[in-house]
């Protein structure tokens, strides 16, 4: 997933970025509202992690603004404000979840996964595609009952397809999904990861539409 983290605390933002990146997501980290607005205007994000008390304003105002603009990007508020009235204000402004600092990094990962599943239209953490059984919470995938090991980057690529089953995803869309701003991407990186996934999951699981991109979920019978 391509995630935008808006957090002004240096140490905390760095740790959150590393944690999410280790799980295979692409994270852009900004420290103020103006930079967040600039990022949102140029890039499509799958998730926004939003602090409330920022140096140039309130995260709630930014949230209201993007919701007013019709932007449906899932938003998880990360804040030290623990009052129920703040939580209600955040949820009323359009947040999908609200996590109070200090929190466990594992809980943050679980909330990110839950929100992204909800947005993919399938809140069930288990997904079945043909002979594949995928547990999105535990990051376990099995093919014909045999567990397959994927790297974090391979997982992130797989999640991009699972979130949009049957949808054709271009190479640049997949690059945006996997890499943050400033990441060095080799020209054939996506092809390499697609090739690795095909080897591990079966070559029929991912279809190549020449000159257009890739899609998943049509070839496997009984997809849910």
């Amino acid at each position: 997933m391509r995630i935008l983290l808006v957090e002004d605390t240096e140490g905390l933002g760095e740790v959150i970025q590393d944690q999410i990146a280790d799980e295979g997501h692409a994270v852009d980290w900004v420290k103020c509202i103006s930079n967040a607005e600039a990022s949102l205007s140029t890039t499509h994000y799958d998730l926004l992690l939003l602090d409330l008390m920022l140096p140039d304003g309130s995260g709630i105002d930014l949230l209201k603004k993007i919701r007013k603009a019709g932007e449906a990007t899932p938003v998880i508020i990360l804040t030290a404000r623990d009052q129920i009235s703040d939580r209600i204000n955040g949820l009323n402004a359009g947040a999908d979840d609200y996590l109070v600092k200090p929190f466990d990094l594992s809980e943050l990962s679980a909330r990110i996964a839950a929100v992204s599943r909800r947005y993919a239209g399938n809140p069930n953490p288990k997904v079945y595609i043909g002979t594949l059984e995928i547990d999105l919470t535990k990051h376990i995938i099995s093919r014909d009952g045999v567990v397959v090991n994927l790297t974090a980057r391979e997982w992130a690529l797989l999640e991009a397809f699972i979130q949009r089953p049957g949808t054709l995803l271009s190479k640049s869309q997949l690059e945006d999904h996997l890499y943050a701003f400033g990441s060095e991407i080799e020209s054939n990186t996506i092809e390499v990861y697609i090739s690795r996934l095909r080897k591990k999951l079966g070559k029929d699981q991912l279809e190549t539409v020449r000159g257009m991109g890739y899609r998943m979920g049509l070839s496997g019978p009984g997809s849910t």
């Binding site: 605390t9 140490g11 905390l12 740790v15 959150i16 590393d18 944690q19 280790d22 008390m53 804040t79 030290a80 404000r81 623990d82 009052q83 129920i84 009235s85 939580r87 209600i88 609200y98 109070v100 600092k101 200090p102 929190f103 466990d104 990094l105 594992s106 809980e107 909330r111």
Partner: protein
Amino acid sequence: MTLTQTKKPQSLQKTLGIGLTLAVTLLWIFALSGAVYVSKNKLNELFDSSLAETAQRIMPLAVVEIINREDPGQAQQIMSFKAHDEHLVYLVRNNLGQILLQSHNADPAIFNQTLLIGFNSSTTHRFYGISAVQNTLHIEIAEPLTQRRAAITEMAISLLWPLILLIPLCFIGSWVFVRYSLRHILAYRNEIESRGGGDLTTVKVEGLPTEIIPIAESVNSLLDRLQRALESERSFTANSAHELRTPIATALAQIQRLQQKVSAGSIQDDMGKIETTLRGLSSLSEKLMQLAKAEGGGLLSAEPHNLISLLQLIVDDSQRSHPAKIITLTLPNNREYMSAIDPDAFAILIRNLLDNAIKHGVYAQPVEISFSSKGILNIVNAASVIPTETLLQLRRRFVRSNISVQGMGLGLAIADAIVSGVGATMTFNSPAPGQKDGFEVSVDFSTIKD
């Protein structure tokens, strides 16, 4: 050493009741005295006039009677035609004082020895004397004073009788009138008296007398200033919490990241200890700030809120934070219970009660939460029976029923401070009602004033 004596406060209602009754009674007595005095003079004038008129009417008849006698110097007593009380008696005497004629009941001893003209009085009678036939005959009429006194006394008593009725009637009337006049002040007093410590909303001034309105407005102004001061303090506490939580969150996240990077061993164990310490620090700072807020007032809001939707939100949140714990929530069908308790105070109360149930309850057993349509919250967790003496101490700070469980003993003290502040009631039961063991906290929100 100086001793200061404080004067016992007087009831305005009692003072006004007694004062008005006393004033009316005194006024009545004063008016009665005046009436008696004026009546007495008028009665005396009337009686004197009758006395003079009677003397002047009898005198010519007496003269004719005496002159026509064979022996004019012989005394004669007039006999009565019919038995009757003779209030007026008379003597007709010559200029030597010899009695020539007297009424049938006249006692010469009561009359003046000298022949006096006009009105005069003895201690027992009132007299009127006149002379005729060149002062050779003299008539003197006597009237007993008791008759006049009896008339005046009867009149005074007839005026006093209403006073006997008037005193209690006046007291009751003035009591009722004063109470009616003070009804808005009494309602104002009751509203202030019935408030919990956390209610700093303004008091209604409608209907109060103009003399009291400035006081009530000053009280409202004071409450408003106090409310703003407390809100400022709360805002400061919230900001302090933010400032404190962020570095703790950073340190906790960093230590968790480090733990992921090192393999199991002594370094990871040490990191685990640091993480536990950080969690304890975070929890303690949060509890202390909650306690400060709970005891600081401002626990009621001007607008009522639906406690059931808030409860659902808090329980959902708690369930997400404790995914392994089974939390059951039973709610009434109407899903609405409006109360003036501040939503943040309510959230702190519920979180503390819920944390207490999760922390001290048997791990594998569910925590059962129910909220009735009458505003009664029950939270039950499985636990060994807690002795009554321990139950009584659980509201105190830093008291725990189970010292083997990690905790600071502040949760129920915070809950108690909030419950007391908003005017609700909280009871602890162990064993839980209908069970052999367990612990139940019951909070009645219906006693909170709107």
